[in-house]
Amino acid sequence: MPEYIFPLRQGVGAPSVPCVKEGETVRRGQRIADIPEGKLGSAIHTSVSGIVRAVTDEAVRIEAAAEQTKDYVPLENADPLSMIRASGLVGLGGAGFPVWAKLGKPFAPEKKGCVIINAAECEPILSHNIDSVEKRPEDVLRGLAIEMDVMHAARGFIAIKKKHTAAVAALQKALAAYTGEKPVNIHLLPDMYPMGEERAIVREVLGELLPPDAIPLAAGAVVSNVETAVRIHEAVDLGKPMIDKDLTVAGKLKTHPGETIVMHDVPVGISVGDIFQMNGGLDEYGELVMGGPFTGHRTEIKDPVIKTTGGLIAAECFPKGPEKIGLLVCACGASEERMKELAASYGSEVVDIEYCKQAMPVRNTRKCLNPGKCPGQVAKVLAIRKAGAGAILIGNCSDCTNTVMSCAPQLGLPVYHSTDLALRAVNHKLIRKIHIAPES
């Protein structure tokens, strides 16, 4: 029988505290771990019915029963914020911040706060959010409406890239039927990475560029991704805990080579290997990436899908890289550790590590001073060449990559992008020079 793994850390905050014992029989939807008392964190529910096989400091492991159903143990009826808290919902765009905490402090009326649904789906390949917008736009709107209510927001926005015409049309149609009192508008975004970065969204929609250590609240905004809105609707209106996840699966798939497959309502805790099996199995691959090509991380067959898992990509095999390589690390893409991991897989020695000058250290990570607006990279590229690198590995956004492409090749430095092998696995255009479209 397949074993489902529920790590106790599935988002921001302290690890959840298990509330089941080994040998206990559990039903799908049943709470298996609580929010640690008095701390930031989230509850966890089992996505399958079965028997608890192990409870450790790291995870709860459940052996799934042969028969599984779609239904679940519903949440107790209560006010929306309490139900959201009880549901274990975290931000599903990747960060995993507990939604109850994010929505915990309503805007003062004079603030005229707003809720923005981030439908940028900025990572290439990932497409389950846009798919939801197309298929269930009213659920997205409903989730937004709940958030606006909880936050006492004066208005709502759905920020979506202009290129997703079908999704935009679906939204417009749903909006026509929308009867809420507070205005909701669609804000169209240009097709550039990283438009989906929280602060980039706020900048685009509200025209306010936040400092790197600020959260959207500073601009009177709350930003939620599409699936989060849908799951809010499910928690509040249907009493459904956060047990199922939407995913995009892609890459080196044996029976669906190069395809991008959207999966809705995958039970959390299922193994990565099972997901690939469900889609025909894996072909020869270089690495498995959990998340998007830009910000995802390496994962293994045995790892479980968690609440924040958005993509599972089997990337192309690693070709032999240059002898020596230099890294240009930025805040919007792969971290330094991730870049080193990639360099090692390319078989290249890292001879220089440069940071984009806009990549500001914030807490444990880095944030871009002005996402998607290049501050110039020539000096960094020259430094990397001077260090003796035979090529440069970057993880930059579209605009910064364009700058690198304006100088590195002329210097005889081939450019590798951290997203290359994931994108090649789906025959997606690589992140390279931006070709200016003829004036419209």
Partner: protein, 602 residues
């Protein structure tokens, strides 16, 4: 990378180049423009081609882009809605702090008083750190010329600092005795302004050292300069004590005459092979520079032939100096009792100016051995006898008073690469010593001489000793000079680092120029003054060409004052550019640095 507001202010006159792709409708700010400091590297790498129709930073800031433009593209007027016209008047307007390079025209046309708040732009060129140092120095008040110039009110540094109370420790009077002719005759004497040297003295002099095989004397008059000369080993004044020890009392200096030592070995190999200055004298000496003969000086040439293959050893060249000193001593003995016309009486004072910034001058001198040596504190001014060789002293820093230096405490064994070496005459009239000692705004504690050993480990060791010395002197600033090119720069930059890491404001003075990229640097080498006077920016074979001159000294002293006062010294462009030096000369009211074309142009 793109610039900050502050950086943009420093680069207003530099070309405007987009750092990244920019789209139509953009209002251009400094965040869109590449830092001009890396243009040289970019051009070298073939990434950038600046064109004449490119606009400057100040012309494009605030303009709106009318087309999408690719990264690293120089901005031209056809992609902008408008271009800021920058009138000449605007340029002159003392826009407070950040008026950039402009120097030349600005300074010339503007009366000195309005240089207030302008910028002193000093340059040194070289690449890496040391290279290309251009220094833009905003001058908060008055040009702050070296003391002599009555022109300015007290300069910036001084305005803040109290004027120290002067306390004279000792005085030295240098009596310059008028000499109008020199003849080689039967006895050595001085009469009526004429020096006569016994021609047979060379026979006795040569016995001073067995490595010296022969000596020859002749006289070169000012109107006979186009004569062939072997490599110039030294220019040495005739000076002698008549009262007191070195640095005090009374010294007589023969005016209008100098000794010049030249030398080859028995095989005719130049002592300074390779890097010698043999050739026609008028082409091989920079007449008028501190270490050289002046235009109207009579030159007594002493030519030595030393033992075969001894040119690259320590004893060989030293033998020549020693034997020449025997001859000079005979003249000194006559000068002591000569009571002829005194052209000039020069009063030198060792003094404290308590309350003023405490500064020292550090002079790095040759100490690698062979002819790379210096004799310190001989018995007679500029002599050899009685002194200790720098190399034998382990090249450790040795402190002298300004008066000791001005009384000929250094006898230089000039080595190969004559253009950048300081000869004996240089030290008795060293412009930095003169300038610092006389400056009423400073308190010159002393002059440190530190040798440059051959071995790198020893260089570090010596430099650390210097660092300790500087720290314990509790100084507020220092100027460090070096002579030569290459090997000596390793010590030089160490010395700057030793001062810098102790938080002591430091100004470096050196020949760097075109090959500055070969010169090492460190983060403390931010205030550098260039000595180069060669048109190609190379170390040429003209003795005394690229050394400390009065202009170099004035720039260095002003830069030190600004550094101590916390006034920003702007970075130099990467490549050597004499215009930067002249801009600074202009701002200080100094004469232009005119370069010599010696065939090193490339």
């Amino acid at each position: 990378m793109s610039m900050t507001k502050e950086m943009a202010q420093q680069h207003l006159k530099d070309p405007a180049v987009f750092c990244c792709r920019r789209q139509k409708g953009l209002v251009i700010s400094e965040a869109d423009l590449e830092d001009p400091d890396i243009f040289d590297d970019m051009e070298e790498a073939g990434l950038l081609k600046l064109s004449d129709d490119g606009l400057t930073v100040e012309q494009v800031l605030g303009s709106t882009l009318t087309k999408d433009v690719e990264a690293l593209t120089p901005i031209t007027k056809d992609v902008l809605d408008h271009v800021h016209e920058v009138s000449t008047e605007d340029k002159k307007a003392p826009a407070a702090s950040a008026e950039p390079s402009v120097p030349a025209e600005t300074a010339k046309t503007v009366p000195q008083a309005s240089i207030d708040n302008g910028v002193l732009h000093i340059h040194i060129d070289q690449a890496e750190k040391l290279s290309g140092f251009t220094l833009d120095i905003p001058l908060p008040k008055g040009p702050g010329l070296p003391p002599v110039s009555a022109a300015g009110p007290a300069s910036a540094a001084s305005a803040a600092a109290p004027t120290g109370k002067k306390k004279v420790i000792r005085t030295l009077v240098k009596k310059h005795m008028k000499i109008t002719d020199v003849v080689i005759g039967d006895e050595t004497k001085i009469e009526n302004g004429t020096i006569t040297i016994d021609g047979s003295i060379v026979e006795k002099a040569v016995k001073e050292d067995p490595l010296c095989k022969s000596l020859a004397l002749d006289v070169i008059k000012p109107d006979q300069r186009h004569v062939y000369t072997n490599t110039i080993m030294d220019v040495c004044p005739i000076a002698t004590k008549v009262e007191g020890e070195l640095g005090e009392g009374v010294t007589k200096v023969a005016d209008g005459v100098v000794f010049m030592l030249t030398g080859v070995d028995e095989d005719g190999v130049q002592v300074h092979e390779f890097g010698s200055s043999e050739g026609y004298l008028d082409e091989k000496m920079y007449f008028g520079h501190p270490g050289c003969a002046d235009k109207n000086d009579i030159i007594i040439r002493c030519h030595a032939v030393i033992a075969r293959k001894s040119g690259m050893t320590r004893p060989g060249p030293f033998a020549a100096h020693k034997c020449e000193d025997y001859i000079i001593q005979a003249v000194r003995d006559q000068l002591k009792k000569y009571d002829g016309e005194v052209v000039r009486e020069e009063l030198c004072e060792d003094c404290r100016r308590e309350g003023n910034p405490r500064v020292v001058l550090v002079k790095e001198i040759m100490g690698q051995g062979a002819m790379h040596d210096n004799v310190i504190c001989p018995t007679e001014p500029c002599g050899v006898k009685g002194g200790q060789k720098n190399v034998d002293c382990g090249n450790v820093p040795i402190m002298l008073t300004p008066n000791q230096v001005r009384d000929g405490s250094i006898h230089a064994l000039t080595c190969i690469g004559p253009a950048t070496k300081e000869m004996t005459r240089h030290y008795i009239r060293e412009p930095l010593v003169e300038g610092l000692a006389a400056d009423p705004e400073l308190d010159l504690i002393g002059v440190v001489f530190v040798g440059s050993p051959q071995v790198n480990d020893e260089k570090m060791w010596v430099s650390e000793r210097l660092g300790t010395l500087l720290e314990t002197l509790d100084i507020d600033g220092c100027i460090i000079t070096t002579e030569g090119f290459g090997n000596n720069h390793i010590d030089f930059i160490q010395h700057i680092g030793q001062a810098g890491k102790r938080g002591i404001p430091v100004v470096g003075v050196s020949f760097c120029a075109y090959q500055g990229q070969l010169v090492v640097g460190n983060k403390y080498a931010t205030a550098m003054v260039e000595e180069n006077m060669d048109a190609g920016g190379f170390e040429n074979n003209i003795a005394g060409c690229s050394c400390v001159t009065p202009e170099v000294a004035a720039r260095a002293i002003q830069m030190l004052k600004n550094k101590m006062a916390g006034v920003e010294v702007k970075p130099a462009p990467k490549k050597w550019n004499n215009a930067v030096i002249n801009a600074n000369n202009d701002l200080l009211g100094l004469s232009e640095t005119v370069l010599v074309d010696s065939g090193t142009l490339h």
